[in-house]
């Protein structure tokens, strides 16, 4: 995990930025924020003097100009009041802070999910590195062994009338030899596919979690307390990446592979209701995920994308080739009927 400095700051960095209570703008440092407040919100209309606080400005207006200050200038409609004493980050009501952080976090993950959706990159730490490594070190003996097992299983399945549709992804790790490239799933790094398979228990947790649709929030460590949807299962599931322990290159792993295959196949044939649901789900989503980063977390991305397009919504109050005056002139109340020339 190297530093990923790509101009996308961490959510902590964003949250740490000082921001203005009156207009919700955020700044590089506190000094800038204070000078912003003095210039935008606490500046005297009459003489241009910059005061430190709204209260100060009010007193100034009273004493120097004999006027009363009714609201803070350039403030958001619900933040114009003089009742809160704000200086820099001081004095912001707790609930407003909460709201602000909430908003920042939401925007952050939204932007992150949008980026992943737009670039097609997998989120950091999610299978980006591991699969290729595994591919390199896999040794032919293992592959052959697993292939044999896989074939046997397929035969067994066919005999048992099991659905063949989802065997390719399951068997994918075995399909390493190019000869098998006829498999439609081949282009997808096989071990990605296999991940959910091995750990169907983890998977089921994620899937059944009510937060699943917000999967975009799964990637980063959820050390953010106020995030409502930060679902704990996902991060805790990460370290237990199934690919590693069962990795053939590290130890003579035939037994592990056996286990994996066994668990997978038993999962397929087993009558467990939840497993059944998961399999149904997967059957539906596996083809859809092709080419995309095949992590469950990316699933809601298309939805997010649509949302983003909506973000760019523009509503023109007046949009016409005729001018407003011409429109008005057509109305009976303004119409002028010329007399015969």
């Amino acid at each position: 995990m190297g530093k990923k400095k790509r101009g996308h700051p961490d959510v902590e960095e964003i949250l740490a930025r000082p921001w203005c209570y009156y207009c919700e703008r955020d700044f590089e440092d506190l000094k800038l924020l204070i000078s912003h407040q003095k210039a935008k919100h606490f500046k005297c209309d009459r003489c241009g003097r910059r005061l430190n606080t709204a209260g100060g400005l009010s007193v100034h207006m009273n004493q120097v100009h004999k006027e009363s200050l009714s609201h803070v200038e350039n403030a958001l409609p619900n933040r114009q009041g003089l009742d809160v004493e704000i200086f820099g980050m001081e004095g912001i009501p707790e609930d407003v802070v909460q709201q602000h952080n909430q908003r920042i976090i939401q925007n952050f993950y939204q932007a992150q999910a949008d980026r992943y959706a737009a670039t097609g990159n997998p989120p950091p730490g999610q299978g980006g590195k591991n699969p290729p490594k595994k591919l390199k070190i896999e040794n032919p003996d293992d592959i052959k062994k697993r292939l044999a097992e896989h074939r046997a299983r397929i035969a067994a399945q066919k005999a048992a009338g099991g659905a063949p549709t989802h065997t390719p992804p399951v068997g994918a790790p075995e399909n390493q030899s190019p000869a098998q490239s006829a498999s439609p799933e081949f282009p997808v790094p096989p071990s990605w596919r296999s991940i959910p398979r091995f750990s169907s228990s983890r998977r089921s947790r994620v899937l059944s979690s009510p937060q699943y649709p917000q999967g975009g929030f799964n990637y980063p460590p959820s050390n953010l307390p106020s995030r409502p949807g930060s679902n704990l299962p996902a991060p805790s599931g990460l370290p237990a990446r199934p690919g590693q322990p069962g990795f053939p290159g590290y130890s003579p792993n035939a037994s592990t592979v056996d286990e994996l295959v066994a668990s997978a196949s038993s999962g397929q044939q087993g009558g467990d209701h939840i497993d059944q649901m998961i399999r149904d789900l997967e059957r539906g989503e596996v083809p859809a995920k092709k080419g995309d980063s095949a992590t469950p977390a990316d699933e809601p991305a298309p939805e997010k994308k649509i949302k983003k397009e909506k973000d760019k919504n523009v509503r023109m109050v007046y949009d016409d080739e005729l001018s407003p005056e011409e429109r008005m002139a057509l109305m009976p109340r303004y119409a002028f009927v010329p007399q015969a020339v």
């Binding site: 209309d45 949302k307 909506k310 919504n313 523009v314 949009d319 001018s323 407003p324 429109r327 008005m328």
Partner: protein, 365 residues
């Protein structure tokens, strides 16, 4: 509530305001043309005699309605003539009229074949130019009524017009902009040949949407245009490449709406009016459908100020000749999809006294 530097005029028009004009000399003489078929003449300084309206809204109302000039149809534009006592109006009744503000006497200068949208007076050339939806300009010389007005055909309906000391800018439909040289127009009128001179320059608007307003720099350097799509462009007359490279456009008078069902929506308002400051010639005001007026520094490309929202869309703005006052016409804006329109009771004129450096460019700060 409102600071004393800003007040509402008593006895505002009964319907939407189409235009505001300050007198060339007296800084407190204000003409207002309205869709209620009247032109109003105010003295913005004297205290109101019948302060009945003053109680309304709790604010202190000032100013006096001096006179009202009735027209047969809504008045689309008004401007002062050679002095504080002469005014010209553009009417929905196709006519361009001269009003003697003292006597109230109205004389028709010329008649178009469609409503007249704008009138502009050039003191330097003693020319009155009217622009009508019949796609013509009429050029008059009010000092010599014997001359038949010159008709200049336009390629589109004019929507906005402004005169700089030597030029007149006409913005039309299809983003067409023609710039005429006033001296050439005066010459053509004088010759009475009836043939219209070609425009000094023909341009395409820098803005992609219907032009809403034009204002000319008092320095004669260039002009600003605005469109119905919350945008303002600043351009220079000089056709040289380096001058043209200086032109720019920017977004303004927009609001983000987080409450919309469709998600975050950028609400874009038309920029209804522009006015350059007569003293600080780089400063101009823009008035938007978002009920705000903003001051801009055309040279520094900076926004100098945004005034607190008004109650309704801002239809027109004008600076007084000495640049000390800003008149703001507030009335509901006409929006797409409106079946009916009524500005009754919601029309206001706000006069703002500008602070010492309020409209002065950055340099001083």
């Amino acid at each position: 509530m409102a600071p004393t530097t800003q007040f509402e005029l008593a006895q505002p028009p009964n319907d939407a305001i189409s235009s505001l004009a300050f007198a060339p000399d007296a800084p407190s003489r204000l003409l207002v043309s309205s869709w209620d078929k009247n032109v109003y003449l105010y003295d913005t300084h004297t205290a109101s005699e019948n302060g009945d309206d003053a109680a309304e809204g709790g604010g202190v109302s000032h100013g006096t309605l001096l006179k009202k000039y009735e027209h047969p149809a809504p008045v689309m534009d008004v401007c002062f003539g050679a002095d504080d006592n002469e005014a010209y109006t553009a009417g929905m009744d196709w006519e361009v009229k001269r009003i003697d503000l003292e006597s109230g006497e109205q004389t028709t200068l010329s008649k178009h074949t469609a409503p007249v949208r704008r009138v502009v007076y050039s003191k330097a050339h003693s020319l009155l130019i009217s622009a009508s939806w019949d796609s013509t300009l009429h050029i008059h010389n009010p000092t010599n009524p014997s001359l038949t007005p010159l008709t200049v055909p336009l390629p589109g309906k004019p929507h906005a017009m402004a005169a700089s000391p030597s030029k007149v800018i006409v913005a039309m439909t299809s983003r067409l902009v023609h710039i005429y040289d006033l001296a050439t127009l005066a010459g053509a009128l004088e010759s009475q040949s009836g043939s219209a001179p070609p425009p000094w320059q023909q341009r395409e608007s820098s803005l992609k949407f219907l032009t809403r307003a034009v204002a000319a720099m008092p320095s004669d350097g260039g002009y600003a245009t605005s469109s119905i799509e919350g945008r303002v462009a600043v351009e220079w007359f000089d056709a040289s490449a380096e001058s043209q490279a200086r032109k720019y456009a920017f977004k303004c008078h927009r609001q983000t709406d987080n409450t919309a069902a469709a998600g975050v929506t950028d609400v874009v308002y038309p920029v209804n009016a522009l006015a350059f400051h007569p003293v600080h010639g780089n400063t101009f005001a823009s008035a938007g459908g978002d009920a705000t007026v903003a001051l801009w520094d055309a040279e520094a490309k900076r926004r100098m100020k945004v005034y607190q929202k008004f109650a309704d869309s801002v239809a027109a703005v004008a600076f007084s000749a000495d640049g000390r006052f800003l008149a703001v016409a507030v009335c509901p804006g006409f929006e797409t999809g409106m079946e009916d329109y009524n500005a009754e009771g919601r029309t206001k004129i706000v006069i703002r006294e500008l602070g010492e450096n309020e409209a002065k460019g950055k340099g001083a700060k």
